[in-house]
Symmetry: C2
Subunit: 202 residues, 2 copies
DNA sequence: GCGTTACGAGTCTGACCCGTATCGTATTGC
DNA sequence: GCAATACGATACGGGTCAGACTCGTAACGC
């Protein structure tokens, strides 16, 4: 919570302490409104305050503005990541690919597309985005490396490109509905298998 | 130009005809503002009018509102598609994959991310999006089918999944900068080759 | 109890915008 | 020349919002 007054090094509190429930309500209201279809810039502090049952001043007391609030709110979406079982490389990849865009918080799926424009306009928001996805990338990277070590995957593959290969199709389908004819349910499995064996005739 | 008064079946024009230069200026101003970083909903008719050197009334005389104007403006971005040479399946795929998100109009690349949120909120905008990309998908589909016919690609591959496999990585990288460490320049080639041969040890 | 700080609710100013209307002017057909 | 329609510019009423501010009240340490 970079933009909030730290409570850890508080030199004692002279007056009434800030309400934790208000913190919670504001963040939740923000995520709710986003998930309901509001876009980032259509989102107003007034609407958030009303939804949270909170005065506008209470929000401004905690955050410098909408951007700072959004930054904190979106951090909340970093749910628990899927944990690969570690038995079969293929199954682990299917699990990870299937988890793409399918967050713990059901609101995340609806909020994600809204972030696309923001990601490349502000360095802060780009960093936030990277912070969220890079541990997930790392997870997949480890599975691929394990596959190489075990001899299941070729040793000469480009791990980074392979991750993009596995992630890209799932992401464009979940976020953009890139091809309405594609069955999303079976996609993870089909993507992984296709990437594994390739499409070239032998 | 569904929302504009048709000029083809005009039953003669009683008064001063509408300025074609104004049409052009309005559309161009819209695209310019979007490319400069304005998001779709931050874009205002007033800003467009000012940028185009045009009165607001001139815009409202032609379009019903911002949505109708945007619809026409975005149609303008449908540039000429890349045309595969037809010699080597691999080279054709590299060409098509490299063309993803790299439109004729340099503004298109900056505008594309802005569309992501809109695409799944309005059926009209979703349709517009599909209208733009489906011919490109068709182009790739034909190359893949040709590869199968020629025996270069296996006959049992799922063409639709393969297209997602080729398109996804490029799209998330160009639109989202999914992995900042990936070299975008060489990505098309590396994606195509990886998809061709697969990653599994043999 | 007292000072301090937070609270929800509300007010206020100044932006910005939409969509319409109205200027005086320009350009067309007849 | 004249009616018709276009033009750019500007003004309008109505709306939303940001932020700072003000209430009376509530919760804390001392």
């Amino acid at each position: 919570m970079a933009d909030m007054t730290s409570t850890a090094d508080a030199p004692r509190s002279p007056g009434r302490p800030r309400s934790i429930r208000a913190d919670e309500a504001i963040i939740e209201a923000t995520l709710d409104l986003l998930a309901e279809g509001s876009t980032i810039e259509a989102l107003s502090i007034e609407a958030i305050a009303a939804r949270a049952g909170v005065g506008k001043a209470t929000i401004y007391r905690r955050w410098a503005g909408k951007d700072a609030l959004l930054l904190d709110a979106l951090r909340r979406l970093k749910g628990v990541m899927a944990q690969p079982a570690g038995h079969s490389v293929r199954d682990d990849l299917v699990l990870l690919v299937g988890a793409i865009g399918k967050n713990v918080d059901p609101r995340a799926a609806k909020i994600m597309p809204c972030l696309a424009p923001a990601v490349n306009r502000s360095a802060d928001q780009f960093q936030l985005y990277q912070n969220i996805i890079s541990p997930r990338r790392q997870l997949m990277r480890e599975v691929l490396r394990r596959g190489i070590d075990e001899g299941v995957l070729r040793a000469d593959i480009d791990v980074e490109v392979t991750m993009a290969l596995l992630t890209g199709p799932m992401l464009i389908q979940r976020v953009l509905q890139w091809n309405p004819d594609l069955d999303e349910q079976s996609l993870p499995e089909r993507v992984v298998d296709a990437v594994l064996v390739g499409i070239q005739a032998r």
